[in-house]
Amino acid sequence: MRLRAALVAACVLTAAVAAFAQEPATRAEELARQREEKSRELTPPSPGALERALLMLENGRLFERILNPPEGFYPKIGNITAGGGFAMGPAYRKPLFGERTAFSALAIGSVKRYWLVDARLTSQDLAGGRLFADVHGRLFEYPLEDFFGLGPDSRREDDVIYGFRSSEVGAAAGVRPVPWFVVGAKLDHLTPSVGPGGSEGRSIRQVFFPSAVPGLDLQPDFLRYEFSADVNLREPMGNPRRGGQYKIAYQWFDDRDLGRYNFRRVDLDLQQYLPILRDRRVIALRAFVSTADADAGQDVPFYYQRTLGGPDDLRGFRQFRFRDKNILLLQAEYRWEIFTAVDGAIFYDAGRVAPRFEDLGFDDLESDYGIGFRFGTRNGVFLRVEGAFGSSGGKHFILRFGHVF
């Protein structure tokens, strides 16, 4: 047994000495041994699931391909109109004539049973980008449009709904002599139709008489002529920090059937952005005035009258809360950059509607205030989250894609 123990010890010692004999003699040898050891354990790089997923998204441009491809079918996701709810549906796009012209079409429906079919042929880049033109046609139905009555004294408790269906077929063209100035003209044939709306609320005809609501009883076809000018000096365009945008549009609605609803409208939209602290803070101001008038014996149908209320104008009020032929909207926001992709905003909205232009003024304005956050880049705001308070319409939480102005 002693012999066995001695043998074992001798073997162990021999092995140990052999091992130590392999200790590196130089720094280079030490490093070479570490590399030799690693060479026996090589594995291919293996990105994790999240990295693989993000790689696939980035390399495959999946967002662009799915949401906004230059060509082919894709799902259209978004809103049909304010208050229409989340909508989606198939869309198609096809570049033509060397990509200077595009054909596009879509058919989308919303959770509130709003739907829209739209097709258009658009050339944005004629004459080196100085001219643009399009022909278009669309058919839509909005079954749950809110209506509270006309005028500044409309009552919240008179909330009713109506359905609105129309087609629009027309053409537009314009000149862009410089990138920041556009003059355009547009002609559309319109076929509006008002219905009782869905069963989710009281129908307009249950509360309002046709005699008090122009256009409720009969809806003629129209030709709508529009001329507009747009000076856009915002920087950057998508999420402005300085500059301004000044737009004016004149519309003429030609009643083709009844001769009762011919009217004119002028919209003036002025926006100014005052930078503070190297553009990291911005005072954003907007004034919007719309006035419509008709000759004696003519009137403006209620469904073409401008409205106030909702996430884009008087944010402390329900959608379409106020409606009339003339409106004034004043908005002011203080926006501050929290970090690169997030801005905070404190806002104040004020406005009113009036049957006559001369009744628009700075007295008796409806108003609200609020606070919010905007997520996006210099190219645009992707998402807007806001709380609006201080109005007679209660508190409102707003979750909205895109900027307010």
Binding site: V8, A32, T43, L55, R65, W336
Partner: protein, 551 residues
């Protein structure tokens, strides 16, 4: 039986004890090997043919580095330095300006093998696959591939100027950098190869058309003569393997054994990035290339894409945040949030002189090297220690005013005011870098011990002109046992007023190794009193400095 067993156990136990005792002694190893300090780390020894390309995701890279703190976060010294605290040459780094005097012409030429290239009529073979700068790829008559990148319309000459200046400086510092040239491209002489392809917005690769080139040129700066200025970067030799991360090692490269976050040249590149405002210094702007013949391939690591340095943001003038704050930095963001913007980040108030569009936003007055930040956290930058920064700052100090002026001429700025301003700003930022990082440790360098026993050394901060001479040095001499890594025998202390002393003969006599601990006395830099220990080895050629450690 009990006895026998007991004897067996005793024998084995005794053997084990002997082994452990020897192992313990051997485990520490000698402090210095005979080949220390190594000047070259031969990290191309093992065949890396099995290495596979790595694709990088911008989103993942941002998220990982912003939220996950990847890498080994131990605050340990750099692991790839030699015993003299220097970076040996490797597939990552080749000592150039730090090891030898470089002529200004050589610095300016940088990685380029030619004076210039003319890319007109070179066929476009495909689109540019990464980055936001408009561009494409062409081949020269010999088939070499080049990447063309254009300047943004609002800032002609800006990105291309930044690219060649950055390449020249990073090359002189020691990094692997691809060749890059400023070129003027005649749009009428852009030729599309028959098999050229591009990826359209739908993600499909299709034949490239002239309209693709025209669309791309619409996002590029047009010169008064109708040409477009661009950078032509020549692709490196070898097989592209994607990028390297600033932490960990490539699992498929046998030669890559040092965690990148602990590599001195990657930690120290924070200093260079701060100097040049290279806020885009991230893994995705690096390049690994597989080089060498089949069966003996190795990976070479490149720094890549300097179009976003100084005042350039590649496709626009650099944003004011760049270099001052990460894209997402919680503390200032929360302060701004809760104060409704009344808290104003100091960098917002910085005035950038309006010199020329080619300058972009670049300044030196507000610049604080220690507070400088890249776009998002970089593990190697996070782990940079004062000794890493000191190493890097010594390299920065090698760039003279004349050298920087000459480098800037490479950008061929049309406006002399742009050249002058960029040169002055680089010099001013260099001086701030030196004041910050050349003084962070006891700056003893270049120790020598003559055969006659005379010790000399230098003070890097004094040499750079950013500090006055110290009032004195305290030297503590010892014999040094290399096997046990410990001083042995009595020590002897000296106080001298200059960087020169006679070593005690009793210490030197019969010694193979001696150490001298140097503490520097300077009223302006009390931290210099921290000891720097220098080790000398007696060899055939006399005493050789073999190691230095700074506390």
């Amino acid at each position: 039986m009990t006895y026998v067993v007991s004897a067996f156990r005793r024998t084995v136990a005794a053997t084990a004890f002997v082994i452990l005792a020897v192992a313990a002694g051997r485990g520490a190893g000698p402090r210095f090997y005979p080949d220390d300090p190594i000047q070259v780390d031969r990290d191309a020894q093992f065949d890396a043919s099995a290495a596979k390309p790595i694709e990088g995701s911008n989103g993942y890279d941002f998220a990982e580095n912003t939220f996950l703190n990847p890498g080994d976060r131990r605050e340990i010294p750099a692991v790839n330095v030699n015993t003299m605290d220097e970076v040996p040459d490797s597939s990552w780094f080749t000592n150039r300006i730090g090891r030898r005097a470089m002529a200004i012409d050589e610095i300016v030429r940088g990685p380029n093998s030619m004076d210039t290239v003319a890319v007109d009529d070179w066929p476009v073979v495909r689109d540019k696959t990464s980055g936001i700068t408009p561009g494409y790829r062409v081949t020269d008559p010999s088939g070499r591939l080049y990447q063309i990148k254009f300047d943004p319309p609002g800032n002609p000459e800006m990105a291309s100027g930044a690219e060649v200046i950055g390449a020249a400086i990073y090359h002189a510092l020691g990094y692997n950098v691809v060749e890059g040239y400023v070129v003027d491209i005649d749009p009428a002489r852009i030729v599309i190869a028959p098999d050229a392809t591009t990826v359209d917005m739908s993600g499909r690769r299709r034949p490239m058309r002239r309209s693709d080139i025209d669309r791309l040129l619409s996002r590029a700066a047009k010169l008064p003569n109708g040409k477009y200025r661009a950078t032509a970067s020549r692709f490196a030799d070898g097989i592209p393997l994607g990028y390297f991360k600033y932490y960990g090692t490539r699992p498929d490269d046998p030669n890559d054994i040092h965690p990148h976050e602990h590599r001195r040249e990657l930690r120290g590149s924070r200093v260079f990035a701060a100097w040049l405002n290279h806020d885009d210094s991230r893994g995705l702007n690096s390049l690994d290339m597989l080089e060498g013949p089949a069966g003996a391939r190795h990976v070479r690591h490149y720094m890549f894409d300097f179009g976003s340095i100084m005042g350039s943001g590649s496709v626009f003038a650099q944003v004011p945040r760049a270099g001052n704050e990460y894209i997402l930095e919680w503390t200032p963001a929360l302060k701004t949030l809760v104060t409704f913007g009344l808290f104003v980040r100091p960098w917002i108030l910085v005035d950038y002189p309006e010199v020329a569009p080619s300058v972009g936003r670049f300044e030196s007055e507000f610049f604080d090297p220690a507070e400088w930040r890249p776009e998002y956290p970089n593990p190697a930058f996070d782990l940079m220690r004062p000794d890493d920064a000191f190493w890097a700052a010594r390299l920065v100090a090698k760039f003279s005013d004349e050298a920087l002026k000459a480098i800037v001429t490479k950008a061929r700025y049309t406006d002399p005011a742009a050249s002058d301003y960029i040169t002055r700003t680089l010099i001013a930022r260099r001086d701030k870098v030196l004041r910050t990082w050349l003084t962070g440790v006891n700056p003893i360098v270049e120790p020598q011990l003559s055969a006659a026993g005379v010790l000399t050394f230098e003070n890097a901060a004094v040499n750079a002109g950013i500090a006055t001479a110290p009032t004195g040095y305290v030297l503590t001499w010892s014999r040094f046992d290399n096997a046990t890594d410990a001083a042995v025998g009595p020590s002897e202390e000296q106080r001298v007023t200059g960087p020169r002393a006679d070593a005690p003969p009793a210490i030197l006599k019969g010694s193979n190794y001696v150490s001298v601990t140097i503490q520097t006395t300077h009223a302006g830099f009390p931290g210099w009193n921290a000891p720097a220990v220098v080790y000398f080895r007696q060899g055939a050629a006399g005493w050789q400095p073999v190691g230095i450690s700074r506390k």
